[in-house]
């Protein structure tokens, strides 16, 4: 198991390998996908990607927080937070893959 970090570079490379577009266009399309998801969420819509998971926006009310250093009470303003709920399929896939990897260690 590698514990590496995957970034836009590897994702757009995968798109490039899969579909016969240029590297530049592959990178642009990845950006558009992320941008469209972000825009929908900003409009307050939830985004459901079947067999992957869903993103939704939750509104949180005001509450009283505390500065942990000074103990001073500060109001935490109402805010919107994004929640991702992985699909059952994604949860199962991640568990199966990781179980396989630890069962039969491959030389890295």
């Amino acid at each position: 198991m590698a514990d590496r970090t995957i970034t836009r570079a590897q994702l757009s490379e995968a798109v490039y390998q899969e579909v016969g577009l240029s590297r530049n266009e592959s990178a642009d399309l990845l950006e558009t996908v992320l941008g469209e998801i972000a825009s929908a969420l900003t409009r307050g819509e939830s985004v459901k990607i079947s067999s992957f998971g869903s993103f939704s926006v939750r509104s949180k009310g005001q509450r009283i927080g505390r500065n942990p250093k000074t103990g001073e009470e500060v109001p935490i303003l109402p805010r919107k937070v994004l929640v991702f709920r992985p699909s059952q399929f994604l949860k199962a896939r991640v568990n199966d893959d990781l179980a396989k990897a630890s069962g039969a260690k491959q030389p890295s």
């Binding site: 514990d3 995957i6 970034t7 469209e36 939830s46 990607i49 926006v57």
Partner: protein
């Protein structure tokens, strides 16, 4: 928005692409993220957010209805942390 609506929107923005290719692009992106998480890797998309896997140890749970103890196996849970820029955009 659903995956098919996302595909339709992308096809609309890219009229020079075949619908079939747009579908493959979207599928590939989410497949790659899922595969990375399956390897235990992190996926960091600056400005959007980061996907990672959190490990949960095995524990003894309880059936809330009967109160009997049941063993819950160790498991891994996909996790998403919203990126700073997107978080700010949601609250703008």
């Amino acid at each position: 928005m659903t995956k098919s609506e996302l595909i339709a929107r992308l096809a609309e923005l890219n009229p020079h692409l075949y619908q079939r290719d747009v579908e493959r692009i979207v599928t590939t992106i989410f497949d790659e993220i899922a595969a990375a998480l399956g390897r235990g890797d992190r996926v960091e998309l600056r400005g959007f957010g980061a996907f990672s896997v959190k490990r949960r140890d095995a524990r003894v749970g309880r059936n809330p209805r009967t109160g009997t103890s049941v063993a819950v196996a160790a498991k891994a849970v996909p996790f998403f942390r919203t990126g700073k820029q997107l978080r700010e955009r949601l609250n703008a």
